[in-house]
């Protein structure tokens, strides 16, 4: 944690000492995102210059982290899989997953993204968005098997989010051999509402209309 402002260093130190429950309790109260939003995310800002205009929930810094995680977690080079960069994965993440989160949950997640981005600094002297591909993979795998529950939770949770936002897109299914929705394709007719049960001992129904 070199070259950090004192207040950020203190905040990160506090985060590193947190137990899982503390981390979650603190999610709404810590000011890590605010304190790191300019200095620490400078590199992220540079990487996020091409952030799509449709992104409304993620900050440029958060976008850069999640975009980088998408690149690292969903590599398709040399496969028949659809490159995530060819799909609006970040827009899906932003609009379909993050925008619908309750404010406390979203605030906790935003703090988590910042915490995740700063995670490699001690070992690599770099933030997550600055890691090479190999370093980023190693970092994700290390956190997934960390002794610190918040680190495991973030490694699992953030990868799950980008995965959901990717596999939600029907073009990703064809290379898997999955055909998607079938009711229309199979010509299935709706059975509609079930009739009133025989056990209903009411008077004879009056036709509607």
């Amino acid at each position: 944690m070199h070259n950090l402002p004192d207040n950020t260093r203190a905040a990160l130190s506090r985060v590193h000492q947190l137990s899982r429950r503390d981390f979650l309790k603190a999610a709404g109260g810590l000011t890590i995102v605010a304190s790191m939003s300019t200095g620490l995310f400078g590199a992220a800002q540079a990487l996020a210059d091409d952030m799509p205009t449709e992104i409304r929930v993620m900050s440029t810094s958060e976008y850069a982290v999640m975009h980088r995680l998408m690149e690292v977690a969903l590599p398709t080079t040399g496969t028949s899989l659809v490159p995530p960069t060819s799909l609006p994965v970040m827009q899906t993440l932003d609009a379909a997953l993050l925008e619908k989160m309750s404010p406390p949950l979203l605030a906790g997640l935003k703090e988590g993204i910042a915490y995740f981005n700063e995670g490699p600094r001690e070992e690599y002297d770099k933030s997550f968005v600055e890691l090479t591909d190999a370093e980023a993979v190693a970092f994700c795998d290390a956190w997934a098997d960390s002794n610190e529950p918040p680190q495991r939770a973030l490694a699992m949770g953030l990868k799950k989010l980008v995965g959901l936002a990717y596999w939600a897109h029907p073009p990703t299914w064809e290379p898997l051999g999955y055909g998607g929705p079938v009711t229309e394709r199979w010509g299935l007719e709706s059975l509609g509402n079930a009739p009133m049960p025989l056990s209903d001992e009411s008077t004879t129904p009056t036709p509607q209309g």
Binding site: S102, M156, N193, Q208
Partner: protein
């Protein structure tokens, strides 16, 4: 007060529902005989039974009304539109996804339609430990008969299976274990495999196409997009609710609603019901509202087969193995489940990047088998700082049950022909050979945020019992503290029951409605 209500025919399709878009006033005051909070398993049955008895019934559902023809058959879209918190509801430590429906019809719209009668073991246990001597197997049997007839609950026909289930059945039989053929509330299953995304062609007999239209035919009125914020009471008598109609497009309150009703039936589900009672400051002299939360945590092992299995169309669930389901016999249940790519994408952790994509590339070769445990009621649900909090950590003894279940799960998958198994841990963990099962599973430690749990069955937060100092709801379904305030959802269950609880809720709801109609004729 009751009045005779004319009975209409049940329409062939659709449901008459008042939605936010239909309301153009800022305030509404309504007066009815009974207000029902929630339109899922318990609420829909209550609406039907009370309306049938001649009461003017109003159903208030916080979620939207999505007609079945609008179901997408895409899991990610369905999670967004049909599930609580858009599918993001979880425990406080974030490692257990707690899935519930949040739409007209509730969880019955998005469940897999599996039905089990409450085992006599639990009815007898509840009588002994919680004074529920009224819920004997003999008393409950006619209620199970009734819902089984009304919801077309029947064992799967031989063809109602899936490619994965057929392999797993062979594996179960190879090990000399009993292969259970599931009962489901489905009529002429079209085998699309989209139970969790809602049944477009209305084969699943959810509340959306059964009890709710029947209730409306008996005169009940349904409001969607309407979130009850407070239950009202005067003295020790419930007398109505306050609610907000929410514009689903922008989340803003469109109308404030006050309902005057001498009878309030809460069926908001085991998370929302205790929260609502806590927010209302009612029915909690026992201090048990929100306590005793259980959720049947599940972990799925994914088996990789050499051949393409294509386990994505078919019956969502069709097979179970319950030899060890009773607490004395182990306390776990194994269930097959097909899955679409979105579900498959978070069931295992093969390693970041290339290992993960290689794993997903073998989607056609994958089959998962779920281990569900009968868990202790060690959690709680609280309304805190303006938001809900589900506090639940898997109990150490329960985790040992999970491990025993995972071992059997793994043995079945190998016996079915799987070549490699993926344990749903945060770090890459596989079992490459049957001889490794004991060592790998024994090496698992009960740690938070280490496994990818899913819960489909939250329960127990307003438990039922005879003792008002230790339970919330009386044996008749009425809260101990507040008269004319009834609960008819899975929050009633005094203990978890090891099996899918939907049929238990259906039967209990019918039973309690009989008590209501007798007390409020």
């Amino acid at each position: 007060m009751t009045q005779q209500i004319s009975i209409n025919e049940v329409p062939a399709h659709g449901l008459a529902v008042t939605q936010a878009a239909d309301i153009d006033v800022a305030r509404l005051d309504l007066e009815v005989d009974a207000v029902v909070i929630g339109s899922g398993a318990g609420g829909a049955i209550a609406a039907y039974e009370l309306a049938k008895a001649g009461k003017r019934v109003l159903v208030l559902e916080a979620g939207p009304y999505i007609p079945s023809e609008q179901f997408s058959e895409m899991m990610a879209v369905s999670m967004d539109t049909l599930y609580q918190d858009h599918g993001a509801q979880a425990n406080a430590s974030g490692d257990i996804s707690v899935l519930q429906g949040a739409c007209v019809g509730g969880s019955t719209v998005v469940n897999a339609a599996l039905c089990f009668r409450t085992p006599d073991y639990y009815l007898e246990l509840w009588a002994k430990k919680f004074g529920l001597s009224n819920l004997t197997p003999e008393v409950m049997a006619p209620y199970f008969d009734k819902v089984e007839a009304n919801l077309h609950i029947a064992p799967n026909a031989p063809h109602e299976s899936s490619p994965g289930a057929r392999l797993l059945k062979q594996g179960i039989e190879n090990l000399g274990l009993p292969a259970g053929n599931a009962k489901r509330n489905i009529k002429n299953c079209a085998m699309t495999g989209f139970c969790f995304a809602g049944c477009v062609s209305d084969r699943k007999q959810s509340m959306l196409i059964t009890y709710l239209p029947w209730a409306v035919a008996h005169g009940a009125t349904i409001y969607a997009d309407t979130r009850v914020t407070r239950i009202l009471a005067e003295g020790d008598q419930a007398n109505g609710v306050e609610a907000e109609v929410i514009d689903q497009q922008n989340g803003e309150v469109k109308c404030r609603l006050t309902v005057t009703a001498p009878l309030v039936v809460v069926a908001a589900g085991p998370i929302q019901t205790p929260l609502l009672l806590q927010q209302s400051g009612l029915a909690n002299t026992s201090g048990q509202v929100g306590k005793n939360f259980a959720c049947h945590p599940t972990l799925s092992i994914t088996g990789m087969f050499e051949q393409d299995v294509d386990n994505f169309y078919g019956a969502t669930h069709s097979l179970y193995m319950d030899q060890n389901v009773m607490p004395e016999e182990g306390g776990y249940l194994l269930l097959d489940a097909i899955q679409d790519p979105v579900e498959a994408s978070f069931q295992a952790e093969p390693g970041t990047g290339e290992p993960y994509m290689a794993y997903m590339s073998r989607y056609r070769n994958s089959v998962r088998l779920i281990t569900l445990i009968h868990d202790k009621n060690v959690g709680e649900v609280n309304w805190k700082n303006g938001t809900k909090e589900i506090i639940y950590l898997v109990d150490d003894q329960d985790f040992e049950i999970m491990k025993a279940g995972l071992k059997t799960n793994a043995r079945i998958l190998f016996a079915a022909g799987a070549k490699q198994l993926y344990i749903p841990s945060s770090q890459p963990l596989t079992i490459d050979d049957e001889s490794q099962i004991e060592a790998v599973i024994d090496g698992l430690a009960n740690e938070p945020a280490r496994y990818r749990y899913t819960s489909f069955h939250p329960q127990g937060t307003c438990r039922m019992g005879a003792d008002p100092t230790s339970t919330v709801v009386s044996p008749s379904g009425e809260t101990h503290d507040v008269k004319n305030l009834y609960v008819v959802d899975a929050s009633l269950l005094p203990t978890s029951i090891g099996y899918n609880p939907s049929e238990t809720v259906y039967a209990l709801a019918h039973y309690i409605c009989d008590q209501i109609n007798q007390a409020h004729a």
